[in-house]
């Protein structure tokens, strides 16, 4: 049985990544925060007595389910709204264009900034947008495997699918990312440092 301190340490170590996971999925800061809070509460309430070693997989599973619940609720809400009102969010159906959030380097109105921090933030913006454009399951698999560092079996357990599916999702996600980044002049290689 894990102690309160172990749970606290785990949640502190995972909270920022969990928030980013949720943000990539829902693209809404308030909703992402709610999702993380719900996931934390569920872990503490239902699985707080589990060994600390089981927390990562349990938490990721809860987090993914909470994100799915969010989309289900959103779908029901939007269907009711479309039934009773003609007022719908105009931005929801708009195509999310990565170019909207990038700085135009060719524009004469903007001076070229050689600052490394700026380049990194632009790079990060491109990567985050590319990740957001991935299908949900591919993004989950990619982030769990290559960012959270789970192995294939752990990722499969967290996602509730087979290891073969995880490999397929990861492969497709990496190829899609490489393709998207290539269009921005970035070469993505598979090798680690």
């Amino acid at each position: 049985m894990s102690s309160r301190e172990q749970l606290s340490d785990f949640l502190a170590s995972i909270e920022r990544r969990a928030y980013k996971h949720a943000m990539f999925a829902v693209r809404d800061e308030a909703a992402a925060l709610d999702i993380v809070q719900d996931a934390m509460l569920k872990l503490a309430e239902r699985y707080g007595d589990k060994p600390a070693a089981e927390f990562p997989m349990l938490f990721h599973r809860i987090l993914q389910n909470t994100i799915m619940d969010h989309f289900r609720r959103q779908k029901v809400r939007s269907s009711w709204l479309s039934l009773f009102s003609s007022f719908t969010q105009q931005h929801a159906d708009e195509e999310f264009d990565p170019l909207d959030v990038l700085e135009d380097e060719d524009s004469p109105s903007h001076a070229i900034q050689p600052d490394a921090n700026l380049q990194q933030s632009q790079l990060l913006s491109i990567i985050e947008i590319a990740l957001m454009s991935l299908p949900t399951r591919q993004r989950e698999a990619f982030l769990l495997r290559y960012w959270d560092g789970l192995d294939t079996a752990e990722t499969a357990a967290a996602m509730g699918c087979s290891e073969g599916s995880v490999k397929t999702h990861c492969s497709r996600a990496t190829h899609a990312l490489a393709e998207t980044l290539k269009q921005k002049g970035i070469d993505l290689s598979w090798e680690s440092n």
Partner: protein, 115 residues
């Protein structure tokens, strides 16, 4: 841009992104963690559980007397339940035939509409 990246670079960039969250978001996450810890079940017995445990109804201290009492309460509850169901099934039906006839022949008194 002409930049080469590998998966480790992406992981590193995402890490830097996660560590540079706004203070508002960080505060929100901290509050969420504190709220979750208050619900940690391992060290947070509910008041009902605590009362039952204290009075020996559950837990390791449940005495023979309390076990008998529990069984008695369970039997009493079962009797009440069975009695209620049998009464409900055998309840006398109200005869509505006169009322139906009155409705069909338009002889329904006015006060019935008020009811």
């Amino acid at each position: 841009m002409g930049i080469k990246l590998n998966l480790d670079d992406i992981s590193r960039l995402l890490n830097s992104s996660a560590s540079n969250l706004s203070s508002k978001t960080a505060d929100g996450l901290h509050a969420a963690r504190c709220a979750a810890l208050q619900h940690h079940q391992a060290e947070q017995p509910t008041h009902v559980k605590a009362w039952l445990n204290e009075h020996g109804i559950i837990g390791h201290h449940a005495s023979h007397h309390h076990k008998t009492l529990n069984w008695g309460l369970a039997v009493l509850l079962a009797i009440v339940l069975v009695g209620g169901i049998s009464y409900w099934q055998n309840a006398p039906e109200v005869d509505h035939s006169e009322l139906d006839i009155a409705i069909l022949t338009d002889d329904l008194p006015v006060h019935m509409y008020v009811d």
